[in-house]
Protein backbone atom coordinates (compact mmCIF):
# COMPACT_ATOMS: atom_id res chain seq x y z
CA UNK A 1 0.00 0.00 0.00
CA UNK A 2 2.77 2.35 0.97
CA UNK A 3 4.62 1.48 -2.23
CA UNK A 4 1.60 2.27 -4.35
CA UNK A 5 1.11 5.67 -2.74
CA UNK A 6 4.78 6.45 -3.15
CA UNK A 7 4.81 5.53 -6.81
CA UNK A 8 1.69 7.59 -7.54
CA UNK A 9 3.26 10.54 -5.79
CA UNK A 10 6.43 10.08 -7.77
CA UNK A 11 4.57 9.98 -11.08
CA UNK A 12 2.63 13.09 -10.16
CA UNK A 13 5.79 14.87 -9.15
CA UNK A 14 7.49 13.98 -12.41
CA UNK A 15 4.61 15.14 -14.57
CA UNK A 16 4.33 18.40 -12.68
CA UNK A 17 7.96 19.27 -12.52
CA UNK A 18 9.39 17.87 -15.70
CA UNK A 19 9.91 20.75 -18.02
CA UNK A 20 11.01 20.78 -21.60
CA UNK A 21 13.90 22.95 -22.61
CA UNK A 22 11.54 25.49 -24.09
CA UNK A 23 9.59 27.19 -21.34
CA UNK A 24 7.14 28.98 -23.55
CA UNK A 25 4.76 26.40 -24.94
CA UNK A 26 2.12 27.37 -27.47
CA UNK A 27 -0.35 25.20 -29.29
CA UNK A 28 0.44 26.78 -32.60
CA UNK A 29 2.42 29.61 -34.11
CA UNK A 30 -0.56 31.97 -34.23
CA UNK A 31 -0.96 31.82 -30.48
CA UNK A 32 2.73 32.49 -30.10
CA UNK A 33 2.57 35.48 -32.41
CA UNK A 34 -0.39 36.97 -30.61
CA UNK A 35 1.27 36.49 -27.26
CA UNK A 36 4.55 38.06 -28.24
CA UNK A 37 3.45 40.79 -30.63
CA UNK A 38 4.86 44.15 -29.96
CA UNK A 39 2.22 45.91 -27.97
CA UNK A 40 3.37 49.42 -28.61
CA UNK A 41 2.65 51.43 -31.71
CA UNK A 42 5.71 51.57 -33.87
CA UNK A 43 7.43 54.91 -34.26
CA UNK A 44 5.88 56.31 -37.43
CA UNK A 45 8.75 58.56 -38.42
CA UNK A 46 10.52 57.66 -41.61
CA UNK A 47 13.60 55.49 -41.20
CA UNK A 48 15.41 54.07 -44.17
CA UNK A 49 19.07 53.93 -45.04
CA UNK A 50 18.65 53.38 -48.78
CA UNK A 51 16.44 56.30 -49.71
CA UNK A 52 16.14 59.93 -48.75
CA UNK A 53 12.71 61.15 -47.76
CA UNK A 54 13.03 63.85 -50.39
CA UNK A 55 13.01 61.33 -53.20
CA UNK A 56 9.92 59.57 -51.92
CA UNK A 57 6.21 60.17 -51.97
CA UNK A 58 4.14 59.16 -49.01
CA UNK A 59 1.09 57.02 -49.59
CA UNK A 60 -1.06 58.73 -47.02
CA UNK A 61 -4.29 56.91 -47.70
CA UNK A 62 -2.99 53.85 -45.96
CA UNK A 63 -2.34 53.11 -42.34
CA UNK A 64 0.56 52.69 -41.71
CA UNK A 65 2.04 55.09 -44.24
CA UNK A 66 4.42 53.63 -46.71
CA UNK A 67 6.48 55.21 -49.46
CA UNK A 68 6.98 55.11 -53.18
CA UNK A 69 9.54 56.80 -55.35
CA UNK A 70 8.73 60.17 -56.88
CA UNK A 71 7.37 59.33 -60.29
CA UNK A 72 7.60 62.72 -61.96
CA UNK A 73 11.38 62.83 -61.66
CA UNK A 74 11.56 59.45 -63.41
CA UNK A 75 9.55 60.49 -66.46
CA UNK A 76 11.98 61.79 -69.04
CA UNK A 77 9.61 64.06 -70.88
CA UNK A 78 7.86 65.63 -67.92
CA UNK A 79 6.44 68.33 -67.89
CA UNK A 80 4.17 67.28 -70.71
CA UNK A 81 2.89 70.81 -71.30
CA UNK A 82 6.25 71.78 -72.74
CA UNK A 83 5.15 70.11 -75.96
CA UNK A 84 1.48 69.71 -75.30
CA UNK A 85 0.61 73.36 -75.19
CA UNK A 86 -1.87 72.93 -78.04
CA UNK A 87 -4.67 70.38 -78.50
CA UNK A 88 -3.50 67.03 -79.84
CA UNK A 89 -5.53 67.31 -83.04
CA UNK A 90 -3.74 70.56 -83.84
CA UNK A 91 -0.34 68.98 -83.13
CA UNK A 92 -1.19 66.12 -85.45
CA UNK A 93 -2.17 68.45 -88.29
CA UNK A 94 1.02 70.54 -87.93
CA UNK A 95 3.15 67.77 -89.39
CA UNK A 96 5.91 67.98 -86.78
CA UNK A 97 7.45 64.70 -87.85
CA UNK A 98 8.29 61.76 -85.50
CA UNK A 99 8.79 63.38 -82.11
CA UNK A 100 8.98 61.85 -78.62
CA UNK A 101 6.36 59.14 -78.24
CA UNK A 102 4.89 59.28 -81.75
CA UNK A 103 4.64 55.47 -81.93
CA UNK A 104 2.86 54.84 -78.67
CA UNK A 105 0.22 52.15 -78.95
CA UNK A 106 -2.43 51.44 -76.39
CA UNK A 107 -2.83 47.70 -75.73
CA UNK A 108 -4.74 47.91 -72.47
CA UNK A 109 -8.18 46.32 -72.23
CA UNK A 110 -10.20 46.96 -75.40
CA UNK A 111 -11.24 50.10 -77.23
CA UNK A 112 -14.67 50.06 -75.59
CA UNK A 113 -12.95 50.35 -72.18
CA UNK A 114 -9.80 52.33 -72.76
CA UNK A 115 -8.63 55.09 -75.02
CA UNK A 116 -6.11 57.89 -74.52
CA UNK A 117 -8.83 60.04 -73.04
CA UNK A 118 -9.58 57.47 -70.34
CA UNK A 119 -6.61 58.79 -68.38
CA UNK A 120 -5.36 61.97 -70.10
CA UNK A 121 -7.15 65.26 -70.67
CA UNK A 122 -6.17 67.19 -73.73
CA UNK A 123 -5.93 70.58 -72.07
CA UNK A 124 -4.15 69.37 -68.92
CA UNK A 125 -1.47 66.88 -69.89
CA UNK A 126 0.62 67.54 -66.78
CA UNK A 127 -1.82 65.52 -64.70
CA UNK A 128 -3.85 62.38 -65.05
CA UNK A 129 -7.61 62.47 -64.89
CA UNK A 130 -10.09 60.11 -63.32
CA UNK A 131 -13.31 58.84 -64.87
CA UNK A 132 -15.19 61.73 -63.29
CA UNK A 133 -12.68 64.29 -64.57
CA UNK A 134 -10.92 64.81 -61.26
CA UNK A 135 -7.18 65.54 -61.24
CA UNK A 136 -4.72 62.82 -60.23
CA UNK A 137 -1.08 63.73 -59.73
CA UNK A 138 1.47 61.63 -61.62
CA UNK A 139 3.17 60.83 -58.32
CA UNK A 140 -0.05 59.23 -57.06
CA UNK A 141 -0.93 57.43 -60.28
CA UNK A 142 -2.01 54.33 -58.35
CA UNK A 143 -5.27 56.16 -57.64
CA UNK A 144 -5.98 56.00 -61.36
CA UNK A 145 -5.30 52.28 -61.55
CA UNK A 146 -7.53 51.74 -58.54
CA UNK A 147 -10.60 52.83 -60.51
CA UNK A 148 -10.68 49.48 -62.31
CA UNK A 149 -8.13 47.47 -60.37
CA UNK A 150 -9.33 48.23 -56.89
CA UNK A 151 -8.63 44.76 -55.53
CA UNK A 152 -5.01 44.80 -56.69
CA UNK A 153 -4.41 48.27 -55.31
CA UNK A 154 -5.88 47.26 -51.97
CA UNK A 155 -3.50 44.29 -51.92
CA UNK A 156 -0.64 46.57 -52.92
CA UNK A 157 -1.34 48.94 -50.05
CA UNK A 158 -1.35 46.03 -47.62
CA UNK A 159 1.83 44.54 -49.01
CA UNK A 160 0.59 41.40 -50.78
CA UNK A 161 0.88 42.78 -54.31
CA UNK A 162 3.90 44.42 -55.83
CA UNK A 163 7.49 44.65 -54.81
CA UNK A 164 9.05 45.85 -51.63
CA UNK A 165 12.36 47.55 -52.41
CA UNK A 166 13.31 48.30 -48.82
CA UNK A 167 14.25 45.73 -46.22
CA UNK A 168 11.87 44.20 -43.71
CA UNK A 169 13.00 46.37 -40.86
CA UNK A 170 12.89 49.89 -42.20
CA UNK A 171 9.90 51.91 -43.34
CA UNK A 172 8.37 50.24 -46.34
CA UNK A 173 9.22 51.54 -49.78
CA UNK A 174 7.25 49.81 -52.51
CA UNK A 175 7.43 49.98 -56.25
CA UNK A 176 4.75 52.03 -57.92
CA UNK A 177 2.28 50.26 -60.25
CA UNK A 178 3.85 51.67 -63.38
CA UNK A 179 7.33 50.59 -62.38
CA UNK A 180 6.33 47.02 -63.26
CA UNK A 181 3.23 47.45 -65.44
CA UNK A 182 3.60 49.69 -68.48
CA UNK A 183 0.25 51.54 -68.44
CA UNK A 184 0.02 51.52 -72.24
CA UNK A 185 0.91 47.83 -72.58
CA UNK A 186 0.66 46.18 -69.18
CA UNK A 187 0.83 42.48 -70.09
CA UNK A 188 3.99 40.46 -69.44
CA UNK A 189 5.70 38.42 -72.11
CA UNK A 190 6.74 34.82 -71.68
CA UNK A 191 10.41 34.29 -70.99
CA UNK A 192 12.89 31.55 -70.31
CA UNK A 193 13.64 30.58 -66.72
CA UNK A 194 16.85 31.92 -65.25
CA UNK A 195 18.42 28.53 -64.78
CA UNK A 196 18.56 25.11 -66.34
CA UNK A 197 19.09 22.17 -64.03
CA UNK A 198 21.27 19.59 -65.68
CA UNK A 199 21.68 17.50 -62.57
CA UNK A 200 19.09 15.50 -60.72
CA UNK A 201 20.71 15.44 -57.34
CA UNK A 202 20.54 12.51 -54.91
CA UNK A 203 18.20 14.52 -52.74
CA UNK A 204 15.53 14.73 -55.36
CA UNK A 205 15.30 11.09 -56.29
Amino acid sequence: MMNLKLSILLILAITLFSCKENHEEYHNIIDKIEANSMAYKKDSTFSNNQFEISELTTVIDNDPHFYIKNRKSEIESYACSECHNKPVSQLQSEDLGKKAHWDIKLIHADDKTMSCLSCHKDNDMDNLHSITGGKIDFNLSYQLCAQCHNKEVKDWKGGAHGKNISGWQTSRVSKLCVECHNPHNPSFEKRWPARYNTQMVEQRK
Binding site: G159, A160, H161, K163, P193
Partner: protein, 350 residues
Protein backbone atom coordinates in the same frame (compact mmCIF):
# COMPACT_ATOMS: atom_id res chain seq x y z
CA UNK B 1 33.67 -32.23 -32.68
CA UNK B 2 32.54 -28.70 -33.05
CA UNK B 3 30.14 -28.92 -35.89
CA UNK B 4 28.45 -25.74 -36.90
CA UNK B 5 24.85 -26.75 -36.69
CA UNK B 6 22.72 -23.80 -37.56
CA UNK B 7 19.49 -24.38 -35.75
CA UNK B 8 16.55 -22.59 -37.35
CA UNK B 9 15.40 -21.27 -34.02
CA UNK B 10 18.72 -19.90 -32.79
CA UNK B 11 19.17 -16.20 -32.40
CA UNK B 12 21.95 -14.46 -34.25
CA UNK B 13 23.58 -12.65 -31.35
CA UNK B 14 26.60 -11.90 -33.42
CA UNK B 15 28.63 -14.67 -31.84
CA UNK B 16 31.35 -15.64 -34.17
CA UNK B 17 33.92 -18.31 -34.01
CA UNK B 18 37.28 -16.66 -33.77
CA UNK B 19 40.50 -18.34 -34.74
CA UNK B 20 43.21 -17.05 -32.45
CA UNK B 21 46.05 -18.99 -33.96
CA UNK B 22 48.21 -16.02 -34.88
CA UNK B 23 49.81 -15.82 -31.47
CA UNK B 24 52.78 -17.79 -30.27
CA UNK B 25 51.81 -17.98 -26.63
CA UNK B 26 48.14 -18.89 -26.38
CA UNK B 27 46.75 -22.30 -27.14
CA UNK B 28 45.42 -22.87 -30.59
CA UNK B 29 43.35 -25.81 -29.61
CA UNK B 30 40.17 -24.28 -28.36
CA UNK B 31 38.11 -22.11 -30.58
CA UNK B 32 36.66 -19.55 -28.27
CA UNK B 33 33.23 -18.08 -28.96
CA UNK B 34 33.79 -14.40 -29.00
CA UNK B 35 30.97 -11.87 -29.10
CA UNK B 36 31.19 -9.15 -31.70
CA UNK B 37 32.60 -6.14 -29.89
CA UNK B 38 30.75 -2.88 -29.94
CA UNK B 39 31.69 0.74 -29.34
CA UNK B 40 34.60 1.35 -27.01
CA UNK B 41 35.22 -2.36 -26.56
CA UNK B 42 35.86 -2.59 -30.28
CA UNK B 43 38.80 -0.26 -29.91
CA UNK B 44 40.16 -1.05 -26.50
CA UNK B 45 39.34 -4.61 -25.73
CA UNK B 46 41.19 -6.21 -28.60
CA UNK B 47 43.33 -9.29 -28.26
CA UNK B 48 46.71 -8.66 -29.70
CA UNK B 49 50.23 -9.61 -28.93
CA UNK B 50 52.88 -7.27 -27.64
CA UNK B 51 54.52 -6.83 -31.02
CA UNK B 52 51.32 -5.69 -32.72
CA UNK B 53 50.43 -3.43 -29.84
CA UNK B 54 53.83 -1.81 -29.89
CA UNK B 55 53.62 -1.23 -33.63
CA UNK B 56 50.23 0.43 -33.35
CA UNK B 57 51.27 2.58 -30.43
CA UNK B 58 54.34 3.93 -32.13
CA UNK B 59 52.37 4.65 -35.29
CA UNK B 60 49.90 6.70 -33.29
CA UNK B 61 52.68 8.50 -31.45
CA UNK B 62 54.43 9.39 -34.67
CA UNK B 63 51.26 10.92 -36.12
CA UNK B 64 50.69 12.91 -32.97
CA UNK B 65 54.28 14.03 -32.88
CA UNK B 66 54.02 15.03 -36.52
CA UNK B 67 50.98 17.14 -35.79
CA UNK B 68 52.65 18.82 -32.86
CA UNK B 69 55.91 19.35 -34.67
CA UNK B 70 54.29 21.16 -37.58
CA UNK B 71 52.87 23.69 -35.17
CA UNK B 72 55.92 23.98 -32.93
CA UNK B 73 58.85 23.38 -35.24
CA UNK B 74 61.54 25.89 -35.85
CA UNK B 75 62.05 24.96 -39.48
CA UNK B 76 58.55 25.02 -41.01
CA UNK B 77 57.21 28.35 -42.27
CA UNK B 78 55.08 30.78 -40.27
CA UNK B 79 52.07 30.19 -42.47
CA UNK B 80 51.84 26.43 -42.07
CA UNK B 81 52.45 26.81 -38.34
CA UNK B 82 49.56 29.24 -38.08
CA UNK B 83 47.41 26.98 -40.24
CA UNK B 84 47.92 23.96 -38.03
CA UNK B 85 47.39 26.09 -34.94
CA UNK B 86 44.06 27.24 -36.30
CA UNK B 87 43.11 23.69 -37.23
CA UNK B 88 44.03 22.46 -33.78
CA UNK B 89 41.90 25.05 -32.02
CA UNK B 90 39.00 24.67 -34.42
CA UNK B 91 39.05 20.93 -33.82
CA UNK B 92 38.64 21.30 -30.09
CA UNK B 93 36.11 24.11 -29.96
CA UNK B 94 32.77 23.40 -28.36
CA UNK B 95 29.19 23.61 -29.54
CA UNK B 96 28.30 27.07 -30.85
CA UNK B 97 25.22 27.22 -28.65
CA UNK B 98 27.37 26.99 -25.54
CA UNK B 99 30.01 29.46 -26.62
CA UNK B 100 30.41 32.80 -24.91
CA UNK B 101 30.52 35.89 -27.08
CA UNK B 102 34.29 35.96 -26.80
CA UNK B 103 34.61 32.38 -27.97
CA UNK B 104 32.27 33.12 -30.86
CA UNK B 105 34.41 36.06 -31.89
CA UNK B 106 37.50 33.90 -31.62
CA UNK B 107 36.18 31.16 -33.83
CA UNK B 108 34.99 33.69 -36.39
CA UNK B 109 38.43 35.32 -36.41
CA UNK B 110 40.07 31.93 -36.85
CA UNK B 111 37.84 31.11 -39.81
CA UNK B 112 38.47 34.46 -41.45
CA UNK B 113 42.20 34.05 -40.93
CA UNK B 114 42.29 30.51 -42.26
CA UNK B 115 40.48 31.60 -45.42
CA UNK B 116 42.99 34.39 -45.82
CA UNK B 117 45.88 31.95 -45.45
CA UNK B 118 44.37 29.60 -47.97
CA UNK B 119 43.35 32.02 -50.69
CA UNK B 120 44.78 35.40 -49.80
CA UNK B 121 41.45 37.24 -49.87
CA UNK B 122 39.53 38.71 -47.01
CA UNK B 123 36.07 37.62 -46.01
CA UNK B 124 33.78 38.93 -43.37
CA UNK B 125 32.04 36.43 -41.07
CA UNK B 126 29.53 37.69 -38.58
CA UNK B 127 28.30 35.95 -35.47
CA UNK B 128 25.42 38.34 -34.88
CA UNK B 129 22.80 37.04 -32.53
CA UNK B 130 19.04 37.25 -32.96
CA UNK B 131 17.45 40.61 -32.27
CA UNK B 132 14.78 40.99 -29.64
CA UNK B 133 11.12 40.94 -30.63
CA UNK B 134 11.80 39.43 -34.01
CA UNK B 135 10.21 36.28 -35.40
CA UNK B 136 10.69 35.82 -39.12
CA UNK B 137 7.85 34.73 -41.34
CA UNK B 138 7.53 34.18 -45.06
CA UNK B 139 4.65 34.20 -47.50
CA UNK B 140 4.51 32.93 -51.08
CA UNK B 141 1.94 34.05 -53.62
CA UNK B 142 1.14 31.11 -55.89
CA UNK B 143 -0.83 33.25 -58.33
CA UNK B 144 2.12 35.48 -58.99
CA UNK B 145 4.91 32.95 -59.40
CA UNK B 146 5.59 32.45 -63.09
CA UNK B 147 8.42 29.97 -62.73
CA UNK B 148 11.21 32.37 -63.63
CA UNK B 149 13.65 30.84 -61.11
CA UNK B 150 15.36 34.16 -60.46
CA UNK B 151 15.09 33.28 -56.79
CA UNK B 152 17.08 30.07 -57.26
CA UNK B 153 19.91 31.90 -58.99
CA UNK B 154 20.06 34.58 -56.34
CA UNK B 155 20.08 32.00 -53.56
CA UNK B 156 22.92 30.02 -55.08
CA UNK B 157 25.05 33.14 -55.52
CA UNK B 158 24.26 34.56 -52.10
CA UNK B 159 24.83 31.40 -50.10
CA UNK B 160 28.01 30.01 -51.66
CA UNK B 161 26.51 26.74 -52.76
CA UNK B 162 28.37 24.01 -54.57
CA UNK B 163 28.22 24.61 -58.32
CA UNK B 164 29.20 21.14 -59.51
CA UNK B 165 26.31 19.31 -57.86
CA UNK B 166 23.89 22.21 -58.54
CA UNK B 167 23.05 22.48 -54.87
CA UNK B 168 19.86 24.50 -54.50
CA UNK B 169 17.88 25.27 -51.39
CA UNK B 170 14.84 26.40 -53.35
CA UNK B 171 12.79 24.12 -55.56
CA UNK B 172 10.32 25.58 -58.03
CA UNK B 173 7.65 23.06 -58.96
CA UNK B 174 5.72 23.21 -62.20
CA UNK B 175 2.34 21.78 -61.36
CA UNK B 176 -0.58 20.82 -63.53
CA UNK B 177 -3.67 22.99 -63.53
CA UNK B 178 -6.65 21.28 -62.02
CA UNK B 179 -4.61 18.69 -60.14
CA UNK B 180 -3.96 20.76 -57.05
CA UNK B 181 -0.66 20.72 -55.16
CA UNK B 182 0.34 17.32 -56.43
CA UNK B 183 4.07 17.10 -55.78
CA UNK B 184 4.29 13.61 -57.18
CA UNK B 185 3.30 14.77 -60.66
CA UNK B 186 5.12 18.10 -60.49
CA UNK B 187 8.23 18.84 -62.47
CA UNK B 188 11.05 20.84 -60.92
CA UNK B 189 13.61 20.41 -63.66
CA UNK B 190 11.69 22.12 -66.45
CA UNK B 191 13.40 24.23 -69.06
CA UNK B 192 11.02 25.89 -71.47
CA UNK B 193 9.33 29.26 -71.78
CA UNK B 194 7.37 30.14 -68.73
CA UNK B 195 4.59 30.38 -67.78
CA UNK B 196 3.64 27.30 -69.77
CA UNK B 197 -0.02 26.83 -70.57
CA UNK B 198 -1.86 24.44 -68.32
CA UNK B 199 0.61 24.78 -65.46
CA UNK B 200 1.13 26.83 -62.37
CA UNK B 201 4.28 27.35 -60.33
CA UNK B 202 5.15 27.37 -56.66
CA UNK B 203 8.32 27.06 -54.67
CA UNK B 204 9.44 25.19 -51.57
CA UNK B 205 12.48 25.52 -49.34
CA UNK B 206 13.17 25.05 -45.63
CA UNK B 207 10.06 26.35 -43.90
CA UNK B 208 11.75 27.11 -40.57
CA UNK B 209 9.11 25.28 -38.56
CA UNK B 210 8.32 26.43 -35.11
CA UNK B 211 8.23 22.81 -33.98
CA UNK B 212 10.96 21.44 -36.20
CA UNK B 213 11.26 17.65 -36.44
CA UNK B 214 14.82 17.96 -37.75
CA UNK B 215 15.94 19.64 -34.52
CA UNK B 216 14.40 16.92 -32.38
CA UNK B 217 16.13 14.05 -34.14
CA UNK B 218 19.64 15.43 -34.42
CA UNK B 219 21.78 13.09 -32.30
CA UNK B 220 24.45 15.71 -31.62
CA UNK B 221 22.33 18.89 -31.44
CA UNK B 222 24.11 20.38 -34.39
CA UNK B 223 20.89 22.02 -35.57
CA UNK B 224 18.58 24.16 -33.49
CA UNK B 225 16.01 26.91 -33.67
CA UNK B 226 17.28 30.38 -32.91
CA UNK B 227 15.32 32.97 -30.95
CA UNK B 228 14.23 34.77 -34.09
CA UNK B 229 12.78 31.56 -35.45
CA UNK B 230 15.49 30.62 -37.92
CA UNK B 231 16.49 26.94 -37.81
CA UNK B 232 20.27 26.85 -38.15
CA UNK B 233 23.06 24.31 -38.48
CA UNK B 234 26.54 24.48 -37.02
CA UNK B 235 28.54 22.97 -39.87
CA UNK B 236 31.46 22.14 -37.57
CA UNK B 237 29.31 20.13 -35.20
CA UNK B 238 27.29 18.18 -37.78
CA UNK B 239 28.40 14.58 -38.14
CA UNK B 240 26.59 13.99 -41.42
CA UNK B 241 24.26 11.21 -40.33
CA UNK B 242 21.39 12.78 -42.34
CA UNK B 243 18.83 11.84 -39.76
CA UNK B 244 17.43 15.36 -40.02
CA UNK B 245 17.04 14.87 -43.76
CA UNK B 246 14.93 11.81 -43.09
CA UNK B 247 12.88 13.64 -40.48
CA UNK B 248 12.05 16.71 -42.55
CA UNK B 249 8.65 16.21 -44.19
CA UNK B 250 9.23 19.04 -46.68
CA UNK B 251 12.56 18.08 -48.31
CA UNK B 252 14.11 21.18 -46.82
CA UNK B 253 17.58 19.90 -46.02
CA UNK B 254 20.51 19.23 -48.30
CA UNK B 255 23.63 17.16 -47.86
CA UNK B 256 27.12 17.78 -49.19
CA UNK B 257 28.11 14.55 -50.85
CA UNK B 258 31.35 16.09 -52.01
CA UNK B 259 33.46 19.07 -51.04
CA UNK B 260 31.60 22.17 -52.21
CA UNK B 261 33.60 24.18 -54.69
CA UNK B 262 32.81 27.74 -55.61
CA UNK B 263 34.84 29.78 -58.11
CA UNK B 264 36.87 32.30 -56.12
CA UNK B 265 35.39 35.42 -57.70
CA UNK B 266 31.84 34.23 -57.10
CA UNK B 267 32.30 33.69 -53.37
CA UNK B 268 30.00 35.96 -51.37
CA UNK B 269 32.34 37.60 -48.89
CA UNK B 270 29.62 38.72 -46.46
CA UNK B 271 29.07 35.65 -44.41
CA UNK B 272 27.52 34.52 -41.16
CA UNK B 273 28.82 31.66 -39.02
CA UNK B 274 25.43 29.95 -39.08
CA UNK B 275 24.68 30.89 -42.65
CA UNK B 276 26.59 31.10 -45.85
CA UNK B 277 30.14 30.48 -44.70
CA UNK B 278 31.95 27.85 -46.70
CA UNK B 279 30.92 24.32 -45.85
CA UNK B 280 32.85 21.10 -46.07
CA UNK B 281 32.16 17.63 -47.35
CA UNK B 282 29.81 15.55 -45.28
CA UNK B 283 27.74 18.19 -43.55
CA UNK B 284 24.12 19.26 -43.91
CA UNK B 285 23.03 22.64 -45.10
CA UNK B 286 19.77 24.40 -45.94
CA UNK B 287 18.02 27.68 -46.38
CA UNK B 288 18.73 30.01 -43.46
CA UNK B 289 16.41 32.86 -44.55
CA UNK B 290 19.74 34.44 -45.56
CA UNK B 291 20.67 34.92 -41.93
CA UNK B 292 23.57 37.14 -42.96
CA UNK B 293 21.08 39.50 -44.64
CA UNK B 294 18.00 39.21 -42.46
CA UNK B 295 19.88 39.90 -39.25
CA UNK B 296 21.25 43.01 -40.92
CA UNK B 297 17.75 44.24 -41.76
CA UNK B 298 17.68 43.19 -45.42
CA UNK B 299 15.35 40.81 -47.17
CA UNK B 300 16.67 37.36 -48.14
CA UNK B 301 18.15 37.08 -51.61
CA UNK B 302 15.15 35.20 -53.02
CA UNK B 303 12.70 37.87 -51.85
CA UNK B 304 14.86 40.58 -53.32
CA UNK B 305 15.37 38.82 -56.64
CA UNK B 306 11.80 37.83 -57.40
CA UNK B 307 10.62 40.11 -60.24
CA UNK B 308 6.92 39.43 -59.67
CA UNK B 309 6.90 40.16 -55.95
CA UNK B 310 5.52 36.73 -55.04
CA UNK B 311 7.74 36.43 -52.00
CA UNK B 312 7.03 38.34 -48.85
CA UNK B 313 9.23 38.37 -45.79
CA UNK B 314 9.02 40.12 -42.48
CA UNK B 315 8.73 40.16 -38.74
CA UNK B 316 5.66 38.28 -37.54
CA UNK B 317 5.71 40.15 -34.25
CA UNK B 318 5.33 43.54 -35.92
CA UNK B 319 1.57 44.05 -36.29
CA UNK B 320 2.11 46.52 -39.14
CA UNK B 321 4.34 44.35 -41.27
CA UNK B 322 3.36 43.07 -44.71
CA UNK B 323 3.58 39.46 -43.61
CA UNK B 324 1.04 40.11 -40.86
CA UNK B 325 -1.26 41.87 -43.32
CA UNK B 326 -1.06 38.84 -45.61
CA UNK B 327 -1.85 36.43 -42.77
CA UNK B 328 -4.80 38.52 -41.67
CA UNK B 329 -6.30 39.44 -45.03
CA UNK B 330 -5.45 36.68 -47.42
CA UNK B 331 -6.56 33.08 -47.43
CA UNK B 332 -3.31 31.49 -46.36
CA UNK B 333 -2.41 27.84 -45.90
CA UNK B 334 0.69 25.81 -45.13
CA UNK B 335 1.87 22.44 -46.33
CA UNK B 336 1.19 19.32 -44.26
CA UNK B 337 -0.55 21.20 -41.46
CA UNK B 338 -1.65 17.99 -39.79
CA UNK B 339 1.93 17.02 -38.94
CA UNK B 340 2.08 19.74 -36.30
CA UNK B 341 5.44 21.09 -37.44
CA UNK B 342 4.11 24.70 -37.48
CA UNK B 343 6.08 25.96 -40.48
CA UNK B 344 6.53 29.71 -40.74
CA UNK B 345 6.06 29.72 -44.50
CA UNK B 346 2.55 30.42 -45.75
CA UNK B 347 1.10 30.13 -49.22
CA UNK B 348 -1.72 32.24 -50.60
CA UNK B 349 -3.35 33.19 -53.85
CA UNK B 350 -4.55 36.52 -55.17
Amino acid sequence: MNKEIKKWFSLNLGNKKQNNCGCSDSKCGDQAMVKNKDGVAQVFDVNMDRRQAFKKLTAGLMIGAGAVSTSCSVVSGEKSKEKSEIEWEEYFKGNYKLMTDEEKNNTVDRLVRSYELRTGSKINISSKDAEKDVLFGYAFNISKCQGYMDCVNACVEENNQDRASQMQYIRIHEMNDGKGLNFGEADDTYYHEVPAAGHFYMGTQCFHCDNPPCVEVCPVQATWKEKDGIVVIDYDWCIGCRYCMAACPYDGRRFNWSTPEIPEQEVNKNQHYLGNRLRKKGVMEKCTFCIQRSRAGDNPACVEACPTGSRIFGNLLDPESEIRWVLENKKVFRLKEDLGTEPKFWYFMD
